[in-house]
């Protein structure tokens, strides 16, 4: 059975070009880029090149890029740096739909006396900008808002939000882990001070990320150690992964158009066909402000884990915001924040595509999923087939 991988917001396959670029740096060129000999120096040169490749993807300058170990580290480093830089301020502004890397960190900081405002979202997963503005206070030490949501793909107006923060002198951080490589990002067009990106969401390996820090932003390192990354992140460079991430960013820049044409068209085709074939189904989140690769669909009166396991029987990989799959007993915090009713939230499935998906793969899902939903509904005490007839007429 072949794998149909539609869970690219969880992680992506390493691009063959990326792997190829990395391999020599495991075996042949294993030198330490900090060394004084040319054997290490050649690796340092390659890292410089990778930094330029990353910077080019987001319209930044190379020395604004700090390599980290993952998106979570970047998020932690950004928020903690801001707190350290302005110890007298005690308010953090964020949203209710952030990734756990920010949410759990904020909950932790709340325990240390910080005041956290989690902005609500509407039923489409969008922010109320008036509410946002009202919560930008003189005591606000940092704003952290994700660029695009991992579960729904909904995009926040980061350009506008970052400018509003800048006008008030408040540092602005964004977790762009899901956005990078999928939608255009140009740091010259926004007022973002710090931004997190993770390698494994854009066809680089796991265990590598970056933190963008705009020139002039006060920065206090999270990892203290050697002089690496201009003393902003200690620790010997993960050279193969850095080089891989550089290559992945170069590819992403070339493929950005394809994300927004080919991938978008595959996603739309999948979404339209499923909504048509399966009664009582609906899309979660704004379809207007959304990543081109993500769709989050709820199927009423069934539970997500069952759907995933039955899809798994056909080699189809997706994910769900249901309680049972998370192990937390409650459906996803994102869907709850959007006020998605329980009947819908438990039966939500996220498909997230990549440029490596094909029409045939999408067709397989369109072929298999309707009967899976029908089968699970036939077991559900809440499903009334008569209702379906009523709705169909």
């Amino acid at each position: 059975m072949t794998t149909v991988y539609l869970d690219n917001n969880a992680t992506t396959q390493v691009a063959p070009e990326v792997l190829e670029a990395m391999l020599p740096y495991f075996s042949k060129f294993y030198g330490n880029p900090s060394s004084m000999h040319s054997f290490g120096g050649q690796v340092a040169r390659k890292i410089r090149e990778a930094r330029e490749q990353v910077a080019a993807l987001i319209g930044a300058q190379p020395d604004e890029i700090i390599f980290t170990s993952c998106g979570t580290e970047s998020d932690n480093a950004a928020v903690r740096s801001a707190l350290y830089s302005s110890p007298e301020k005690r308010h953090i502004l964020t949203s209710r739909v952030e990734h756990p890397a920010i949410r759990a960190l904020c909950a932790h900081l709340a325990g240390q006396g910080y005041r956290i405002t989690e902005l609500a979202v509407d039923k489409d997963g969008c922010l109320d900008m008036d509410q946002y503005e009202k919560n930008l206070t003189p005591d606000t030490v940092i704003v952290s808002l994700m660029w695009a949501n991992n579960e729904t793909g909904v995009i926040f107006p980061v350009e506008e939000a970052s400018r509003m923060a800048r006008e008030r002198g408040i540092p602005f951080h964004t977790d762009a882990v899901q956005a990078a490589g999928k939608i255009p990002i140009d740091m010259k067009q926004n007022a973002v001070d710090m931004m997190s990106i993770s390698g494994h969401k854009l066809h680089a390996p796991k265990g590598i990320g970056i933190l963008y820090v705009r020139k002039g932003t006060k920065f206090s390192p999270f990892m203290i150690g050697g002089h690496q990354e201009r003393e902003r992140r200690g620790g010997t460079e993960n050279t193969p992964s850095i080089i891989g991430l550089g290559k992945a960013c170069e590819l992403a820049a070339q493929r950005l158009d394809r994300e927004n044409t080919y991938v978008r068209q595959l996603r739309d085709r999948l979404e339209t066909a499923l909504l048509k074939a399966i009664p009582q189904s609906r899309v979660n989140g704004s379809t207007l402000h959304r990543l081109p690769n993500t769709t989050n669909i709820s199927f009423e009166f069934v539970e997500g884990e069952g759907i995933l396991l039955m899809l798994d029987q056909h080699g189809i990989c997706a994910s769900s915001g249901s309680a049972c799959t998370s192990g937390s007993l409650q459906p996803s915090h994102v869907l709850r924040a959007m006020g998605v009713p329980f009947t819908m939230a438990h039966g939500s499935i996220r498909f997230s595509l990549s440029i490596y998906n094909t029409q045939d793969e999408i067709d397989l899902v369109i072929e298999k999923l309707p009967s899976i939903i029908e089968r699970l509904r036939s077991m559900s005490p809440y499903w009334n087939p008569l209702k379906e007839t009523c709705n169909a007429t």
């Binding site: 350290y84 006396g113 249901s322 007993l329």
Partner: protein
Amino acid sequence: MWEYTDKVREHFLNPQNVGEVENPDGVAEVGSLACGDALKLTFKLDENQRIKDIKFKTFGCASAIASSSALTEMVKGMTLDEAMKITNQDIAAYLGGLPQEKMHCSVMGKEALEKAIENYRGAPAKEPGAQIVCECFGVTDKEIERAVRENNLTTVEEVTNYTKAGGGCGTCHEAIRQIIERVRFGAEQKPAVKPKLSNIQKIKMIEETLEREIRPSLKLDGGDIELIDVEGNRALVATRGMCATCKAADITLKHFVEKKLRDLVSPDLVVEEVTP
């Protein structure tokens, strides 16, 4: 991904006895959509008062469907007295085991069976005097007591795994902890329970522990710590000297100070830093 046994997978992918028995002798519905799983059980008896036909409809995860299917297979042909003896562990064992976090699925099966039998016998559906403890999932003290007793549960986390109680907002954790203590130690004399400390005793013990166990280490790094107040389980402290400016101080507080105080004073203490 959950580690399900082959038997769970088999009963999920090919569940037995799905549907509703016509003109049933007993009916029960447990769970709710909000909780994420629900089960409707219907059965019919034969002329010898044995379960002739039993069917289920389940909304829920794979293990909920598998538990329902297993339950119906297990009790077919049994008398109601025999069926009443089935425990949630029997259901889990029949399936070759369930992940800890999914044990509540077997509990739901057991509950539905019992309620359906009570429905046939005309017994009261709700246990008298039961009080809702967990508002999020509508779990009563009686249900928690029973899960603790029958499965020998010792922690809130286990109670959540078996009954869902405490899996939502978390405000009932203390109440659950008390039920566990009551069930485990209430009947016998209390051997292992530490006496509850009065606030003054607590403050005294914390001060002693800080002086004996904690300050000497902090002072090595030029730091110090002071107890400001104790509110319930929260020990409010202020850091002094190097600690006050040290970025690793909150790690020290959680991993060193809090751990020591939990070990030596009270296991539910939380250390919080207050700004001077």
